[in-house]
Amino acid sequence: MTTATSRTVNTVLGPVPADDLGVVAIHEALLSVVPGAEHAYDISMDRAEIFEVLAGKLAAFRAAGGRTVVDSTGMFHGRDVKLYEALSRSTGVHVVASTGLGPEEDLGGYFLTPQTDPPTPWPAEKFADLFGREVTEGMVVPRVERRRAAGLVATCATRGGPTPTDESLFRGAARAAVATGVPVSIRYGADPLAELQLLLDEGLPADRVVVGNLDRTEAVAAGWPAAVAERGAYVAIDHVGRNDSDHHIRDAERADLVAQLVAAGHAHRVLLSGNAIGVAKGHPDYELPYAHVLTAFAPLLTSHGVADEDVQQILVANPRDLLAVR
């Protein structure tokens, strides 16, 4: 078995040693475009302006001590690989981009009602191939070229529970991860344990999966964060900074939750993120700095009795271990 220190992570500029990642913002968005919004008559897609806004946010993250941002929005929600390459080069922040699709309502008709009779939606194996090639052959610039390898597969279930196509997406993501060694990020829809199990059934080890949305009120009430950690998967408390949502716990409660998970021996399974959106198109802006976890939430953890070494474990070691390609 190779050690984490000799492993690499797929960034948009190519593989980098996992130990170089530093502090990682793990569940974020750079350019986030609701599918189709790029065609809207009243939405501007000024590339220079988008670059400037993103570069400013990445530079602020770096100035605060951050080193790596993970765009975990998949391949069809505004991902712009060449833009991310230029941003990474100019700001010095490592950018890890994701392949993957989901939930179902974000897919195009090509996957849902193909030109076949009957129009059967894509099965898991076709998604596995699509996502896997984005790792082995590179991420697509649609109809133009492939670039560097995707660093993870990101997918998401429909709120209320996975549709049959969501299930195909999850299974396809797991198969692609097994075949290529990159991890999978899922955002659960109704039942994180059952949805995680879809991936495990495909032979993906639990420690190759990060389960997002676990700071939803219902998730915390059900004890799912600890249950996911006990299964061996990473627990993403990924709405840090959101304190005005009825559906999520507040930061003070998040700090309590992290302290409990650490006390239960799960420090190596916790991930923190803000679900920050660099530039939003077709949906509301969400102006949270990428450094929010680092600058505002980490001190809160300390005041909740989480030891510095555990904070470092959570901000640096866990993302490194997750993202390192196996």
């Binding site: 609701v34 599918p35 189709g36 008709g109 996957f111 030109q115 109809r143 077709g282």
Partner: protein
């Protein structure tokens, strides 16, 4: 003044020449752009497309020119800058469409949109331009999602299209003419005269028995025989194919019954398909190479052919506000 919006600007309807009223430079379902199996280089795209358009222009000399109406909606690979270059270099007038092939080709942003928003999107593309191209759409595409049932989103698009058509004067053409009653109700409620609507694909193999021609014709609507050439006689026909003879007889029957001014014909071919293999050998030029000779052989005279391919589509495409 009679005007038709083409990608290179408005032209007089008198300049349209022979019109292929439902065609595609290249069509792909949304998301197909992510699948490299369909990718082609720009060189290949032009190589596959330019000769077909040049031949279409050559065949059309006797008609004074020709017009290619592209039925590729928003999110389906519509590429207006490309169409402009093709039109400028080949002399074929190209009319671009706003709208959607069906609800199942409207990506989430539009699937979540209101009738009002969709109407503003269509009106903007017709009166201001499509994206940053400066080209104005000349027609609105609407349609029925896969499965032959009109869905709520399909109808939302139909209603927005009807309102945009009334405001701007462009016509509407549909993908599929099946389950047409809800569509007829929407057009009636919105007050759109049905001669502004071409109910398309009424001739395809899988729609037979599902198209209420009586209601469409009785209301004054136009019927699209616009999949000419997807013949079951082809070596590898698509699932919507039909026997050539059967389609031709169907078309002749409507003409024989006196509906010549309510039918339009086209080939629905892809010059270079974007997200599917296409049908080898099937091009817009089927109109000249097979259909018009077939019609002549059936005794349709030149004046009638002129009416079907020149006068009636010009009437349909002309911006018409009351």
């Amino acid at each position: 003044m009679s005007r038709v919006n083409t990608v290179l600007g408005p032209i007089a309807a008198e300049e349209l020449g022979l019109v292929a009223v439902h065609e595609h430079i290249g069509y792909g379902m949304p998301g197909s752009e992510l699948d490299t199996q369909w990718w082609k280089t720009p060189e290949q795209r032009y190589e596959e497309t330019v000769p077909k358009l040049r031949r279409f222009a050559e065949y059309s000399r006797e008609y004074g020119g020709c017009t290619f109406v592209d039925a590729t909606g928003i999110c389906n690979g519509r590429d207006v800058d490309y169409y402009k270059s093709l039109s400028a270099k080949t002399g074929v007038h190209i009319v671009a469409a706003t709208g959607f092939v069906g609800g199942d080709t409207a990506l989430r942003f539009f699937a979540d949109a209101t009738v009002d928003y969709l109407m503003r999107q269509f009106v903007h593309e017709i009166t201001v331009g499509i994206g940053d191209t400066g080209s104005r759409a000349g027609i609105i595409k609407v349609g029925v999602s896969r499965g032959f049932r009109m869905r709520e989103l399909d109808l939302r698009i139909y209603r927005a299209a009807a309102r945009a058509a009334l405001l701007t004067g462009v016509p509407i053409f549909t993908h599929l003419a099946v389950d047409v009653e809800p569509a007829l109700a929407v057009f009636a409620e919105e007050g759109l005269p049905l001669d502004r609507v071409l109910f398309g694909h009424a001739d395809d193999g899988v729609s037979q028995g599902r198209v209420n021609e009586t209601a469409i014709l009785g209301g004054g609507g136009r019927i699209g025989f616009d999949t000419f050439g997807y013949d079951l006689e082809l070596p590898d026909p698509p699932f919507w194919g039909r026997h050539r003879r059967e389609r031709l007889e169907h078309f002749l029957r409507l003409i024989g019954e006196g509906h010549v001014d309510q039918v339009l014909a086209s080939a629905d071919a892809n010059c270079s398909p974007l997200g599917w293999p296409g049908v080898e050998g099937h091009t817009v030029n089927y109109i000249y190479e097979q259909l018009i000779p077939d019609l002549r052989a059936e005794g349709i005279d030149d004046a009638m052919i002129h009416r079907i391919f020149v006068e009636n589509p010009a009437d349909f495409l002309t911006l018409t506000t009351n």
